[in-house]
Amino acid sequence: MMNIIVPIKQVPNLTDELEINDEGTDLAHDMLQYVLNEFDEHALEEAVLIKESVGGTVTVIGVDTTGELDGILHLALAKGADKAMKITGDFTPGTPSHVQAQLIADAIRDMAPDIVLTGVQAADDRDGQMGPMLAAHLNIPYVGVVTNVSISDGKAVVHKEYAGGVMAEFIVTLPMVVGVQAAHQPPRYAPVSKIRQIAKTVRIEEIAGAETAQAGSTVRRMFKPEAAGHAEMWDGTPDEIAERIADLLAAKGLLKRTA
């Protein structure tokens, strides 16, 4: 029975417009909607796939930096996690990875996980990714950018991805932390009705956390990048746009006649 732990992060929904605060040093967090880090969603899927393959329990844990973590934990439970835990305290959105990793490591150390799966990165990792930090705190190995995990005889076989689609296979003696790039199957869908049902019936375990670590660096200025250039934008219906593209390709000699 594998004790599988999935640490997660809440990140701003990047399809929203991101605004900078008045001091120019952080996002205007109160304007934002927070979602489950997409890589953590893959980590959760890989965790549930491991559970389905070799048996065990999946515990999802996160630091509640927004006061709205419950919704994300309910989603994780609906997607196949067995247990959800949140670390609460005087935390604000955008809490650095160093702080979240320290809190989560302290919370899960005594749970003696066999394997910890978390997203390889998150959009707000300015001070680094949580996975390698957790491994350092727990003094267990880490392999990241992983797209496949299989377990046998107290060992994990992981596939780590490099540029160009080449992968390296490693065998790792458990326990370990895995930084998941993508689950080996697309993350499953959780119906809203199931999430609602869970929200009504499931209790989320709460752990009081105190901020002990720091980011180790200070943001002087946050700003939106100035693009070096911008596309010439075409207006029109899809048919009109299609005509313009076809004209452009023809003018560049890229359309070969077939007749």
Binding site: L18, G229, L249
Partner: protein
């Protein structure tokens, strides 16, 4: 503490990767302002010649069979020991598959701050200032380490590579070969083998025209529309990461950081927002045309032409327009 800037070299299948030279070039530019030297740190096995290709003041080459291929545990142990022994001012590590396994764990293990996803680095009045690209490339954060020493993980392509390469006719840096400073015979992580991408599929790096699709494709059932368009254009369908992660196309079609770098004559980016990881793999295409319903999508910053219509409407219309011209 020394004022040296360390550059962690990366090598992959017997070749030093460009990120190494990119960081070395930047380090050489900054080291004098910090009053230190640029030191290449190369972990490998029988690779002293490769180590000498780094344009640094000197190279520290750690030779051990356990370091022949990247192994996060072995590399991490060696680097932690070296950093604690020599106390460099700055440790530069690539924000790559390899570097992302090391930088954050070294930060915790050594207590040095980490500035991640860095694409701008300068020294102001003796202080290192780093700019991190975060929130999917939508925000830049300029930060300074609390204290003097730090680790920075640098994005691929942020700095020019040529400045950090030993060019023909230039003197190679002195290479000091040392054994591993810590035992590496009890590793829990063992490299087994390389797995090459599945063959037999289309090689997207060899195509003149790529119809590249992103999340906007909506589902596997719409891939056919892209295939028809690519067929009409005599090209192939490629994709951004969400499409291959969802299993709608094989990994061999993925463009970007964890996929392939492409440079076709025409890159049609359809429903791709343009995350930094994607732009890294296609920004040097000769002609980029982007279609995305979000007018603020970063893809429009690198595209030459763009429109904000729905890709699902555009694809059949463009297939038809192309066929009409070809038949004319």
């Amino acid at each position: 503490m020394s004022n040296d800037i360390w550059v962690l070299a990366e090598h992959f299948k017997g070749q030093v990767t460009d990120i190494t030279y990119e960081m070395a070039g930047k380090a050489r530019q900054l080291a004098p302002a910090l009053g230190g030297q640029t030191v290449g740190v190369f972990l490998g096995s029988d690779m002293a010649t490769l180590a000498a290709s780094i344009g640094a003041d000197r190279v520290l080459y750690v030779d051990d069979p356990a370091l022949a291929h990247f192994n996060p545990e072995a590399y991490g142990r060696v680097l932690q020991a070296l950093i604690q022994e020599h106390n460099p001012r700055v440790v530069m590590i690539g924000s790559t598959s390899m570097g992302m396994d090391l930088a954050a764990s070294l930060s915790v293990a050594t207590g040095l701050p980490l500035l991640a996803y860095v694409n701008g680095l300068a020294v102001e009045n003796g202080t290192l200032v780093a700019v991190s690209q975060i929130y999917g490339g939508k925000i830049q954060a300029e930060a300074v380490p609390d204290g003097e020493a730090c680790i920075v993980s640098c994005l691929v392509g942020a700095f020019p590579a040529d400045a950090g390469r030993v060019e023909a006719g230039q003197a190679a840096p002195p290479v000091e070969t040392i054994p591993a400073p810590v035992p590496l015979d009890d590793l829990k992580v063992r490299f087994v083998k390389w797995i090459e991408p599945a063959g037999g599929d289309v090689d997207i790096t060899q195509q003149a025209v790529l119809v590249s699709i992103g999340r906007g494709i909506g589902g596997a059932e719409n891939i056919e529309l892209a295939e028809e368009l690519a067929a009409a254009l005599g090209g192939a369908v490629s994709a951004s990461r969400p499409v291959t992660d969802a299993g709608w196309l094989p990994k061999t079609r993925q463009v970007g950081k964890s996929g392939l770098t492409v440079k076709p004559k025409v890159y049609l980016a359809l429903g791709i927002s343009g995350a930094p990881e994607h732009l890294e793999g296609m920004r040097n295409s000769e002609l980029i045309i982007a279609i995305n319903t979000d007018p603020k999508a970063p893809i429009f910053d690198v595209a030459h032409y763009g429109a904000t219509c729905d890709m699902l409407d555009l694809m059949p219309a463009l297939t038809e327009a192309v066929r009409a011209r070809q038949a004319a």
